[in-house]
């Protein structure tokens, strides 16, 4: 394997800031990003990536490859939580199995954002419609996770009717923000992008670096939670993203996606949600332990994808696509 891809990625400022955050926790530093600022940074990233995607989509239009990519994204969003639940229910209480399956069936917007930054640094183009794929993959796993739990254990504690769960899944803050920004970017096109470019593009890398600094702090803290749960969950958190990445790579190859779009589809499939799903699961499946599903997604899967996964998936795409 071409290690230079991994080395270049590891030595990029955003990744080094992530490492700095983890280092600060490891040495017991009092470094802290105030919570409202962390929230603002996450809002900024979602708006910026949505605007960027909408603008790119306004230029490319909705073509057959675009529809095919979105279809592949939707298929992965349905298949992944189902097979994860089947695997997990043998080892864990059903509420935990459902919540973890939902987390791994959904996606991490920040991993996606990091992958787009990696592609931009590498000079590899990608389609704006992949932001729509991100939005499309956020919600189905939440609904599927709850439905699987209800079907497997009708007596299990699931709060609220299907309507409430659908509302939480489809209209949670991150979905509304990404889809809304995508639509705004699409409607306003070149004129809107020219106005927003200094905000949504010029300072993007710096804002991502700041956000990843906080992510490093949080991920390192959450890693402590996992030390008490044995080997299965951390192994799952490392192994399942690789399986999901392989599924996405096969789909991307079958559909003939370009390098950039293939990488983003793979990253989406390999990532796990630690924002939208935990918020929804805490309400819908209160018996599931958030220390499991948040910590797995945030302390194992996210750093793995960020540091090793993204360049490795690109290496495989380049090797396979020739």
């Amino acid at each position: 394997m071409d290690l230079s891809l991994v080395v270049d990625n590891v030595l990029s400022p955003p990744i080094l800031f992530f490492a700095l955050g983890a280092f600060a926790v490891a040495v017991g530093s009092d470094l802290e990003i105030p919570q409202p600022i962390a929230k603002f940074l996450s809002i900024y990233l979602l708006v910026a990536i949505g605007l960027h995607g909408g603008h790119a989509l306004s230029e490319s239009g909705v073509t057959l490859p675009v529809v095919a990519s979105l279809g592949a994204a939707a298929l992965l969003a349905v298949v992944v939580p189902v097979y994860c639940f089947v695997l997990l229910r043998r080892r864990l209480p059903l509420p935990d199995a459902a919540a973890i399956a939902a987390a791994y069936g959904s996606v991490s917007a920040v991993t996606f954002v990091a992958a787009t930054a990696f592609l931009q640094s590498s000079g590899i183009p990608f389609g704006g419609h992949m932001v729509a794929a991100l939005a499309l993959m956020e919600s189905p796993a939440i609904v599927i996770g709850v439905l699987l739990l209800r079907r497997s254990a009708p007596a299990a504690s699931v709060r609220g009717g299907l309507g409430a769960i659908l509302r939480d899944a489809c209209f949670n803050g991150s979905v509304v923000l990404v889809v809304g920004s995508l639509v705004i970017g699409f409607i306003t096109g070149d004129r809107g992008w020219a106005e927003m470019d200094p905000f949504a593009h010029d300072i993007f890398k710096g804002m991502l670096a700041l956000f990843l600094l906080d992510m490093g702090l949080v991920a390192a803290r959450r890693f402590r939670d996992l030390r008490a749960v044995g080997a299965f969950l951390p192994a799952f958190a490392l192994g399942v993203p690789l399986v999901n990445a392989a599924l996405a790579l096969v789909l991307a190859r079958l559909l003939g996606l370009g390098e950039g779009d293939a990488l983003l589809l793979t990253v989406l499939a390999a990532s796990a949600s630690y924002i939208a799903v935990p918020a929804a699961m805490r309400l819908a499946v209160p018996d599931a332990n958030p220390s499991y599903y948040v910590s797995m997604a945030l302390a194992v899967t996210f750093p793995f994808n960020l540091v090793v996964g993204i360049p490795t998936y690109l290496f495989v795409i380049r090797w396979w696509w020739g």
Binding site: I33, Q35, P36, I37, A38, K39, S42, D214, V218, R221, Y274, I275, P278, A279, R282, L283, P286, P290, V294, L298
Partner: protein
Amino acid sequence: MEAVKKIEIVTDSAELPNVIRALEDLGVSGYTVIRDVEGRGGRGIRSGDGFTDVFKNSYVMTACPADQVAAIVAAVRPMLTRFGGVALVSDCAWVKH
């Protein structure tokens, strides 16, 4: 001044809307909420994550006549049992204005 009971509730942030709904259903006319409350309790350290409310608490304070306390406590207790948190009832005086 008028003698009233002060009720302070520290609850999981995800449960905050249900706590408020319970208070309103019982006719509580006013309450104060402080979001993003951190601390330590039966579920360990609740430090928050900055971008998800899953590990955060919220603080709710209200005051009511003594005969309303039992109903509020009965409504809140199941939420505390499920999500953790704490509810404190104390005597205090309300400054009428």
